[in-house]
Amino acid sequence: MSSVNKRLAAKPADYKSGEKPIWCPGCGDHHVLMSFTRAFAQLGLPSEQIAVISGIGCSSRIPAYTNCYGFHGVHGRSLALAAGLKVTRPDLTVVVASGDGDGYSIGGNHFLHACRRNIDMTYVVMDNHIYGMTKGQPSPTTEPEFDTALSPGGTRVRPFHPLVIALASGANFIARCFSGQPNETAEVLVEAIRHPGFSFVEILSPCVTFRPDEKAWKDLVRPAPVAPTNDQGKAARRLMTDDGFNVGILYRGNRTPFQAMVGTCNTDLLELEKDFEL
């Protein structure tokens, strides 16, 4: 997070654009938006100092519903776009929003490299274990037996474990949240944004339309039984063995964030030409 002047006494409503979301009634993403604006208010950041960057999907529609600068880019590339923004504008607070298809499938390679690169930004994936926007195809986190028109009888393919992959790839902060708990989620987002380096927050956000079964998530989630660790080995064991419903901050690393090479801006351009003079 950047050290800009804090605007005290900000209210969540100050961070809403007033644009009406396209989301289905009951979609978990409504609550995620609420958590975003609550977290921004709690941080007291001027909304013009925040950039919310996304790809494509229901979840990726979130930037325009905030009153921050936003970028709704192409499918799967939000992390790369955000990296280019943050290294050239370190003064901004950069939050990236994605879905399980956007972030883990088409954008999977960028996920690995964003974790590795450890640029100071927060990556939020609203995981509903389905492609919502394209109407119900399996994503990398969909259960193997889940029946869809594109995968009759299920994919029979093992789901992807985003938190473990984030840890192995070098993410500096890892948390899981449930959209139905907007206050807790906002708290975690505040911590994630404050934590230096690349913070990864997976928010279980039910797709009530194509995964009505996910309404049961509210009864399955529970606070993680142990405090966050900074030990990668311990974190790996916990993440590998939990059932996917422990919520809270699970890992806080202490890697130094990425530092772009920067020099002075007053070098005379004629200096550069000397390379070529005979």
Binding site: G70, H72, A82, G84, L278
Partner: protein
């Protein structure tokens, strides 16, 4: 024979023989003495080592293409030299220096009328402490071309500065032996004296010129994914961007690279990436995003043989179609092409300026030939094109990022600007930027993005238009130099020829083209593609007011002035 305006030398050798070092040193010596020159290297498929040929042309005038025939060929050895047969044409005027210790010269030599002189370069090198045959070859070439030993030695001394006195001494001794060995050879092809010029020559590749042009135009961020033959642009920018307060980020792939530069530019920092055909293919979707969201970015495509992996180390002009028509939807954007090593600087600077001013992506089509050739040139002139986009400041009331403006360019708010918050979007949007699927907003924004490009005054830089003869050679990119030379020879042969080479390929300039072709009776289109992409492009967008012939062929061999001249003269 008297002094010649231009003279060409090829030096070949197997891996590690140092043929390229010798040729590069010769170019530098010539440049320092005030001549112009062009040096291209050609190599076998090995990653490192392997046979190599340095092709060098020196002249009293700017050199933008290779010669039809070489005046001097030095074979340090002939191992695998047959590979270069198609690229090194010899004639009766050619002198070949061959080492009797390294076998028979290849068919390019034995089947030509060239005169062969044997000099045992390897043996002579053995007599020098730590001596190398390529320094003997350099000495021979230096002597035959009329350089002094000091002129030839200076660039070598510079290159070896870090290796210490022994290495430097060994090279000097080798060069002197070479000078001695060439003393008795009768070689009457001498370069005319350079026109006196107080300014120091520049020695650089097109890729380096591109990179400097980018910085001059205002680029302060680059994202990089390596690919032949574009990597040198990125490698030059890495340390030099930092010197001017910018930075470079290595991307995980080209999908990331293009999105990184969009992110940088969205944040207000002008940004560029460089790639070749395979990478450009991966960037196309996001170039559409930059078009729709009106984010200026610059993408340099240093074209190589295609499709697919093609011929990475050789030139072709086959990416014209993807650059102009590759984006889905109606997506007007800028496409520009430099015409020479030096023009890579100007065109990149201009493209950066245009992208910024017009809030649109610009694709620059350079190619392997000019990208990787090194040239001794006059310092490219300073031009005032420095990218400065129209920013939204002091915003009162509801900000409309995509407001209709007279010239189509609407002020852009940069994150941090209070009251300017908006979401940039690839979805069809309203003036405010909010997504819509309404017909009125869709066509209004399509019009806006088309008009801002079409109505802009690009001035005279849109093309090189030279001469007013009634036969027009229309070409583009790195073929411009060869076309110019061919037209010059045709004029000398009594054919009135002109050259028209657009630097701005998109948006098209129909009125300017009509003016450029005023009065022509014949049109010869020249391009380096298999499918005649440029010819089809011309047919689609321009009125060609006279009978047209097309001379086109694919890479890997460069199209020479001689071939174009023959195409002109053969049109009876």
């Amino acid at each position: 024979m008297g002094a010649l305006p231009s003279i060409s030398i090829a030096i070949v050798g197997s891996g590690g023989a140092g043929a390229l070092t010798a040729a590069d040193a010769l170019l530098e010596a010539a440049g320092a003495a005030g001549w112009h020159g062009l040096f291209t290297r050609t190599m076998g498929p090995q990653i490192r080592g392997g046979e190599a040929a340095g092709l060098l042309r020196l002249a009293i005038h700017p050199v933008e293409c290779l010669p039809d025939h070489f005046d001097l060929l030095i074979g340090i050895d002939w191992l695998n030299a047959h590979r270069f047969g198609a690229e090194i044409k010899l004639g009766p005027q050619t002198l070949v220096i061959s080492d009797p210790g390294s076998g028979e010269p290849p068919p390019i030599v034995t089947q030509s009328a060239a005169r062969v002189v044997e000099i045992p370069m390897k043996e002579m090198a053995k007599a020098v402490l730590d001596g190398r045959a390529n320094m003997i070859a350099l000495g021979i070439a230096g002597r035959l071309l009329g350089f002094t030993t000091e002129q030839v030695f200076a660039p070598i001394e510079k290159r070896l500065a870090h290796k210490g006195a022994t290495a430097i001494e060994a090279s000097r001794a080798g060069i002197l032996v070479g000078f001695g060995a060439a003393a008795g050879i009768d070689f009457d092809r001498h370069l005319a004296a350079p026109t006196p010029n107080s300014a120091r020559r520049w020695l650089l590749s097109g890729n380096e010129a591109t990179a400097l042009g980018a910085i001059r135009g205002g680029i302060r961020f680059a994202a990089a994914y390596p690919i032949t033959p574009a990597t040198e642009i990125l490698e030059w920018l890495a340390p030099n961007l930092v010197k001017v307060g910018g930075t470079l980020l290595q991307a995980e792939d080209e999908l990331a690279a293009i999105n990184m530069i969009i992110g940088s530019s969205f944040g207000g920092t002008p940004a560029l990436t460089a790639t070749s055909g395979p990478g450009l293919s991966l960037m196309i979707e996001a170039l559409g995003l930059a078009t729709a969201a009106e984010i200026p970015v610059v993408v340099v495509d240093v074209m190589r043989g295609g499709p697919s992996t093609g011929i990475p180390t050789k030139s072709e002009q086959g990416d014209l179609n993807i650059a102009i028509y590759g984006l889905h939807g109606d997506a007007p954007h800028l496409v520009l092409a430099p015409q020479s090593v030096g023009d890579c600087l100007f065109t990149t600077q201009w493209a950066t300026y245009l992208a910024e001013v017009l809030q649109a992506p610009a694709i620059i089509l350079s190619d392997q030939f000019m990208g990787q050739s090194r040239a001794a040139i006059e310092r490219p002139a300073d031009v005032a094109f420095i990218g400065a986009r129209t920013l939204a400041a002091d915003i009162a009331g509801a900000y409309k990022r995509y407001a209709m403006a007279v010239n189509g360019v609407s002020p852009m708010a940069i994150p941090g600007t209070s009251g300017g918050q908006y979401t940039a979007d690839g979805l069809t949007h309203s003036e405010r930027g909010t997504p819509t699927s309404g017909a009125a907003d869709h066509s209004a924004q399509l019009d806006k993005r088309r008009d801002k490009l079409e109505h802009f005054n690009f001035g005279d830089h849109w093309a090189s238009v030279e001469g007013n003869g009634n036969l027009a050679v229309i070409t583009w990119g790195s073929l411009t130099g060869a076309a110019r030379e061919a037209a010059g020879r045709a004029v000398a042969d009594g054919i009135d020829a002109r050259v028209v080479a657009p630097r701005l390929l998109s948006p098209v300039r129909p009125e300017q083209m009509t003016a450029a072709l005023e009065g022509v009776k014949r049109i010869l289109v020249v391009e380096q593609t298999h499918g005649g992409q440029f010819h089809k492009y011309l047919r689609a967008h321009y009125d060609l007011p006279a009978p047209v012939r097309v001379f086109h062929r694919p890479g890997p061999l460069p199209i020479t002035a001689g071939e174009i001249h023959r195409a002109i003269m053969g049109w009876k």
